[in-house]
Amino acid sequence: MDAKDILGLPKNSLPIPPEKKSRPQKDSQRKPDGISREVYALTGGVPPPLMPSLDVNQLKKRQKTENEKITWEWLSFTSSARKDDLKLYHWVRVVNGTPPTGDYSFAKYNKSVDVIKYTDEEYEKHLTDPMIILLCQEWTKEETDELFELCERFDLRFVVIADRFSTSRSVEELKNRYYSVSRTILIARAPSPADVSGHPLVKDPYNISQEVDRKRALSMVLSQTKHQERKDAEVLSEAKKIMETRMAAKAAQDAELADTSNASPERMEKAAAAAETASPSNIQATSGVAPLMSIAENAAAAAASLRTLKVYLRTYALDQMVQAASSSAGLRTIKRVEQFLQELKVNLKPKVPTKAVCAEHLELRKEILTLLNLQKLLQTKEEGSSYREVSYTETPDTPKGLHCVIDQDRTFVPDSVSFRAISTERVGKRDQKRKGPGREAPSSPAQSNKRPRKLKATDS
């Protein structure tokens, strides 16, 4: 230090800024530990995922106690939880020669239930069971006594009690008897009814029939087959849709959208009325109508939210409107729309999103959705009609592998229209798994250039 002073040199060496500048850039873009950059590029620029190592600073420091002398001794102890005076032994941490005092630390966990104890007079006065519950006998005093003794012994674990009960009683019956007895005693002992009215036993009495039903329903749900589960899910989703449209109708009435709210509530009422008849065809129709209603409301809501933003990107706006338009469609349908767009050689997100382009794109998506919905409707109608037709005629161009339904319809429908319908159906429903043998090829030799035909703009 003094030498530096004498020589006139500065005490601390200056830091070298340029080195530091390039080094941080190197380090973090490189990500440490001597892996060369090329190896890094192989893994995609990110280190292979490893468990984060424990930071030593995060761990608690060991508490060194130098002023105390700790020994461990094998000592006996008693527990207040025991009724006898059994002396057991365990290791005890002794500090400075004095053993710890106090009760056994786990004694406080020895809790039990307060099971009501009635006297014989009380039994005769209030509790003799006049009712004959379900199929079994009435409760005798011996049975009731046994029940209460088991309840005390097993801390109200009714399943165990039911198992050990001498006569065969169901868990619900045992519960019913126990709770009604306790309730009666409670009310009888109370100085006035008002005192106990807050007690949970008094407030919510055990309802045996409800419990039996509830458990039966639960076991039914548990033992449902997959088929039933699907059916239930479908019905529930229909119901949910109908509820949502009703909610949306209410919301539309509250909002300041005059046109949609004028038209939709009336149609909503009709749709709701139709839905309540609960026949499948009605549900189909209303679910067809309902999504259109909700789409209109969603679109209006999306437009309103954009307006509140004041400044936004057109791509963002398009996304919002697309989401609003597809709000009623499931994920699968949305994927099909995107597939359709790709087949039409249209970008999923427009490369030049001007106002006009975005508007056209949105309209196109909506039209594709409509087309898919109509195709679905057509399919269900055809399935319905297949049960009516018995004969099916073969026209010379029809390969044998075709679905029966389509053949039957052909007798009524002119050939040209039906062929093209099939080809569009086929193309539009590419992800349908309904494939028969020999269906891979186009439906007939005349349709071999299906693809180019489809892409022509004028294809009537």
Binding site: Q29, V311, A317, E367
Partner: protein, 246 residues
Amino acid sequence: MVRSSEDNEKKNLVNKLKDVEISAPIVYGNIAFWLGKKASEYQSHKWTVYVRGATNEDLSVVVKRVVFQLHSSFNNPTRVVESPPFELSESGWGEFEIAITLHFHSDVSERPLHLYHHLKLYPEDDSGSMSVKKSVVVESYDEVVFSEPSEGLFARVQGHPAVIVPRLPAGFSLPPVSAEDADKRKRMDPKDNPLTQWFTIFSEADELLKLAAARQQVQAQIARVRRQLTLIDGQHQQQLKPPSEL
């Protein structure tokens, strides 16, 4: 007398034009050059990230400043560009996501707008034929929409090449544009940017044509399916009738 008319004008300038939107088409992206002989391991490319008007017009009419947030390994990763051209040049080797924030003038918007751009340095075909002359350009087109602008803003940007302004319906009267603004507009036309030669020209015509063609096809198919549906409904009607009536 004079004061009251001035006050009135000021009030009018703040009024919002309902159901009117003005939009500014922008293009944002980056251009990168391989440094060739001059490249080092950590400075292999020289790149520029930018936000520009779609037709290379001056965005400063609406944009006050642009903030580019770079990778944390860069010195001062938050770079602010206060005046056009809104671009930032750097050198490096890594590709990363750049957060671009557009801050607008106070009469346009209080809130900034965020864009994200993935910096691209290396060309798609990694056949390795890197040339100093070849540039890698990645641009994205978007439009900033200003919904229900104030009258003052509308008047200010009317006629400016960077902003698309619709024609107002009859009955609207706007305060006149001050001479100062008009002058400023003429001065800042950055047509002399050296990067201009690499910029992509985005045209909506192609996309519109494709979309129109696609829509026609879909509409034709819808018509077909509708015909089939009515035919089937006709069949069902027939079948529902008891045989004696047929």
